[in-house]
Amino acid sequence: MHRLILFFCCLSVAEAQIPVAPTPQSADSTNGETNGNYNIVNNLEGGYRFNTVGGNSLQYRSSVNYGNGVRLLGSSLAVNSVNGRGTLVDQIVLTTQGLGNDPYQSAQLRVERNAIYRYDLGWRQNDYFNPGLLTAGGNSQHLIDTTYRMQDHNLTILPQSKYKFFFGHTGSAQLGPAFTTEQGRPGFQFLDVRRRWNEYRVGNEFSVAGVRVNWMRGWENFKEDDNFAPAPAGVPGFPATANAGLLSLDKSAPYHGNSPYWRVSLFTGNEMIDVNGRFTYTAGRRSFVFDETAVTGATGGPQTTTKVFSEGNAQRPVATGNLNVGFRPSSKLYLLNSTAVYNARTQGDSAFTQFSPGQPVTTISYNYLGIRTVANDTVLNYQVSNAIGFYAGYQYSDRLINSIEQTNLTDRPARQTNIHHAGNFGIRLRPLQDLTIQFGGEVGRANRPFTPVAPNHYHALNTRVYYRTRNLQVTAAVNTDYNNHSVTLSSYSSRARRYAVDGSWTRLSWFSVDAGYSKQHLDSVGGIAYIVAPETLVTGESSLYFSNLHTVYSGIRFAHRDRVELFAGLTRVQDTGDGRSTPAGSGVGSPREIFQVVQTFPLTFQSPMARVSVKINNNVRWNAGYQYYGHRQEFSPNLNYRANTGYTSLSIALNGSRISRP
């Protein structure tokens, strides 16, 4: 028994890699304070986060990013009218997370008056940071440190009526500094990222002749007004010659446009037949100007001014349609036919002019990409009895791709078609009330896929087994996905296999455990062709990639009545690669070292955590937690980091509500 407990403690990982804070506790919804016609449940968790980071702190900021400081880790407010007929409001629900400078902040609000209106607000903010990482070590030249903010408003008028009205707005902004590069220039540029996107929409739903009609008209607007500035020569971490000789650079590239759209959905049905469809038309359009003036030369010496000017616009009208027709001759049999149509035409022109000390050069380019896809899918689903059911289906897709890349008058339109057939089959068994077994598979063939990595000759198999009782839950799953493009492997082949098992046991009120293990295997081989000096094309070699990813997670919870609760968890991810101990492989695939050393990337990522929650009184709990993050790459140790993070907080229930576990 002791060994068993020790086993669980050692394995103990909790709910995936969910951060240690906020504490997963909320006010008991059966309590709260009733005042007149309204019941109010209100609680919040406020506290302090801390962290220390060793190793590559930039990688830590990219993948974890929790910092120090006071936070409103989480809060919840629920107001409900008791009789369901409040004067202006029947329900207010507000939840927040991470407010006060966490890198992942969000708030959600719902305000509703039954049968009259419903308003939903979603707001979130993410500090997105990437120091130009490449897993294989070194740096790329694109660094970004921005804040992404998004808000979504939805107002429904008469939500319970047959005639509903919808109004909405979604907006996002990405703002912050970045670092970028440009072809033809040896150096780097500072970039002030300023992207804004707004969508406004209005719609309505009604019934006519037994058909439910839902339409929406939307207007999307996108603006990118990035500003560029040259990085001075000698930026740490970059070649000393970077931007040497570039005396000044003035560059701007505004890119604006709209994508107004219509969407109409129809659905109807009775016990025998149901039909629904969705049709959209989007008229995307963008305009741009690119203006750059560069002065190069030695300081005090002769200087050269080069000016580049480019302008044009792009359009993409997209029409799509979906139509589903389902027949249900009995409650056990369902036959469905689905059709999807997609028609997009992207076209645009770009006039490029460069004013050099010699003669000005002007190029006018035109590009066109047309995609027309028709897909039809038929599925039969039959429930033989409570214990057994199955489904089987067939899908046919036909895609036509037209394109023109016109950089000179000799370019000609190109065209290809791609026809795809797929069949799938599945069976579900329920031999016991609590045991479910699912098995499914799909086989597909495409004649001319667009890219080597696209599905071509593929088959996929999936099996899941669930055993679920009130206190014990066990899930096991196996998936395989094989895709093969050519028997000679000059093109591409991949094999993916995934195995997972997960279980949780919650029989005792004072003890529960959750643990899982998953393995994901991927190996792929793709034919490559590349250039080496002097202008030599190398063919006949392959790019290999191996990944054997083991993930273990578990969580264990002890509670002493509702006084004290302890939680310990661990997540550990380990990619063992193909087993090699040094970056260089055995020469398989390509004799060149640059291809061998990127064939596999063994790494380990682990995150143990522990949390304690102590009841102070009925309305207050004190919480504290610790979480460690460790990232270790075997072949690129300069990217490793280890971080100790933690928090302490008070969970406070207001309005008579009482803190309890969900």
Partner: protein, 318 residues
């Protein structure tokens, strides 16, 4: 002009609210109804024995139909879901128990009211339904611990209970921030079934929610990658983002399918097979100036900066 429109909207809403607020409460419907040998007795009759449920039922979204007092007995209150209670009270006959009811009965019962919603229009073709997962597998009508949608658990835990392999992917070093609470599975997926993807040509992915204009869901947040661009990187538009990215999580930075950029690019730009725009292969590197022996050319996106699409350059240079 804008102020006038706003004022009109405010007056319109105020008029609706005012009308409803001042309207006398509708007369209570006759909750007892007999149709053949089935007898509806109304939710009041349930309170005597099931007060633990009915006392706080005003917080339940299903209470709206009771509060409206407009619905027929078979479409509201306890009997709206559990069936007529007359025989249950008189003779102890069992009502519909959703724990043990057949899957089809659970689905049919819920869809009596919930089918008339666009987001659930495809529920019968969803891969959940096809695999025997129905409403009560994810929703807990009487004991939901979350504030919205009556979910049986917080959404992330709910989905990962079954999708254990996906759960593992969100623990990888580079991932969408689902575990952190910044995103939810439903930001990209519709668990009630989605229309067939129009942007993809194979049957998969399934249950992926479209953007409002029937495009790939990624552009709902990554609008800067949407275009249109004069020079589209065509696989982005033809095969979608997953040509190069892993949507849930990856061990590789930027959630790429490969740990470095050049293998990602060269595995497609190899000139082989009947691929590409003209079905004669995807173009290989130009002979000048490339030289893979030079580190400068091992990072393709140093020069091909606008790899998702460019307006100013055919080769995505600027």
């Amino acid at each position: 002009m804008n102020g006038g429109v706003g004022l009109c909207i405010v007056l319109f809403l105020a008029a609706i609210v005012g009308t409803q607020a001042q309207a006398p409460a509708p007369a209570p419907a006759n909750l007892a109804k007999t149709a053949g040998d089935v007898q509806y007795v109304g939710s009041q009759a349930c309170k005597d024995c099931h007060s633990d449920i009915t006392d706080t039922f005003y917080k339940n979204p299903h209470n709206k139909s009771i509060a409206s007092q407009k619905e027929l007995p078979e479409r509201t209150g306890c009997e709206g879901c559990h069936g007529p209670g007359g025989q249950h009270i008189a003779a102890g006959q069992t009502m519909i128990n959703f724990r043990s009811a057949p899957k089809e009965q659970v689905l049919d019962t819920c869809l009596k009211c919930h089918s008339q919603t666009l987001s659930r229009a495809n529920i019968r073709r969803s891969s959940h339904t096809v695999n025997g997962i129905v409403c009560t597998n994810c929703h807990s009508v009487h004991s939901s611990p979350v504030t919205k949608n009556l979910l049986a658990k917080a959404q992330t835990n709910l989905c990962s209970d079954c999708h254990t392999n996906v759960r593992a992917q969100f623990s990888l070093p580079f991932k969408h921030r689902v575990n952190e609470g910044f995103m939810n599975c439903t930001d990209c997926h519709n668990p009630h079934g989605a229309f067939q993807p129009t942007w993809a040509y194979a049957a998969r992915p399934r249950n992926v929610d479209h953007s409002k204009a029937n495009e790939e869901p990624c552009i709902k947040c990554h609008e800067d990658k949407r275009g249109p661009f004069v020079f589209e990187h065509s696989p982005v538009r033809v095969d979608g983002c997953k040509s190069c990215h892993v949507p849930h999580g990856s061990t590789n930075s930027r959630m790429l399918t490969r740990p470095v950029v050049f293998t990602l690019c060269l595995e497609c730009h190899n000139g082989s097979g009947n691929l590409g725009r003209q079905a004669n292969g995807v173009k290989t590197q130009a002979r000048t100036p490339h030289n893979m022996a030079n580190p400068l050319f091992q990072n393709c996106t140093q020069c091909h900066v606008r790899i998702h699409g460019s307006n100013a350059d055919l080769r995505y240079f600027r």
